[in-house]
């Protein structure tokens, strides 16, 4: 039969059901006959009961009905961002193709010119202005670019996690 000294370090794993069946049985037998160890077990279970009761009451007062709708909205945003990134990547690839294609064409043209004056001119293709370079910067979902800002006693605040920008006006709010 185990002694109090043997059992001392095993009482917590005992209440946590972390012991092997054989050891569990030995500890249980000892605790059944030892008031001191039995009291310690009761103490440990008392703490557990208090925590569980407190937690149950706390969670009972929580309205979790809004969790899924919120998560679903965030999932939409995540999916939309991923689609936007994929689109931007696609455009970047096609622009790269245009640029490299142009470079190849110039090189080919240069080679032809070096061979002789065979290049003929024709009407300028299209009248489009060169494509404005698009910054495919990694944008946070609520990024805002401020091109111009005027006002008195104002400050800019940015929330790093979402990129949300706030223009704060230091001004007393009048009563409604």
């Amino acid at each position: 039969m185990m002694s109090c000294t043997d059992v001392a370090g095993l009482l917590e794993p005992f209440v946590d059901s972390e012991l092997t069946p054989a050891t569990l049985l030995d500890v249980a037998r000892h605790a059944g006959h030892c008031r001191s160890c039995e009291a310690q077990v009761a103490d440990l279970l008392g703490v557990r009961e208090a925590l569980v009761t407190g937690s149950e009451r706390a969670v009972a007062g929580l309205d979790l009905s809004g969790v899924w709708p919120h998560v679903a909205r965030e999932m939409d945003r995540v999916d939309a961002q991923a689609a936007w990134r994929a689109r931007s990547e696609g455009r970047r690839v096609s622009r790269r193709l245009v640029v490299w294609g142009s470079v190849a064409a110039i090189a080919a043209g240069a080679m032809l010119m070096m061979r002789g004056p065979f290049l003929t001119t024709g009407p300028v293709a299209g009248d489009g202005a060169p494509a404005a370079p698009t910054r495919v910067a990694k944008r946070l979902p609520n990024s805002v670019y401020i091109d111009r800002l005027a006002g008195k006693d104002i400050a800019l605040r940015r929330e790093p996690k979402s990129g949300t920008t706030m223009i704060w006006v230091h001004h007393e709010v009048q009563n409604r």
């Binding site: 404005a132 698009t134 805002v144 800002l149 001004h171 709010v173």
Partner: protein
């Protein structure tokens, strides 16, 4: 000759800008009263962490909310509590980014005048108040343009 060739090969089609007239712009403006204590509006539960991090208040109540379709290059006005209003001039849409001018007015005073670019569906915020530490209330204005 070479110049012509260069122009010919380098000329790339311009980015097709989404013609604003082809897209509807819906703008939602929400006025929120921020305070140090009290209940929070359930509809703001998603924004609450962000608002707390930005302004430090703990309780947020929707005071007024208005959403409507707005014309491009036309002024739109949204009323706000305390005799204030938001004056908007949506200018263009480029790659899902809405360009607009925004003025926050209090009576005849212009509190803010700004030109911004916001992603469609994103929320831009304006705040009017002193600090959360002083314990006063604040007015938060949520501006959300959405191009469809």
């Amino acid at each position: 000759m070479l110049t012509t060739a260069l122009v010919a090969v380098l000329a790339a089609p311009a980015i097709a800008q989404a013609a604003p007239s082809d897209t509807t712009l819906r703008i939602e403006v929400t006025a929120v009263r921020a305070a140090d204590s009290g209940p929070s509006d359930p509809s703001l539960v998603a924004l609450r962490p962000r608002l707390r991090r930005l302004v430090g208040y703990r309780a947020f109540q929707v005071v007024n909310q208005e959403a409507r379709d707005c014309d491009w290059r036309s002024e739109a006005h949204f009323s706000l509590p305390g005799g204030r209003r938001l004056q908007l001039l949506p200018k263009s849409l480029d790659d899902d980014v809405v360009r607009m001018q925004v003025r926050l007015l209090e009576g005849r005073h212009r509190l803010v005048d700004t030109n911004i670019r916001v992603m469609s569906g994103a929320t831009m915020m304006f705040g009017v108040g002193r600090d959360a530490r002083v314990g006063d209330e604040a007015l938060i204005i949520l501006l959300k343009p959405e191009a469809k």
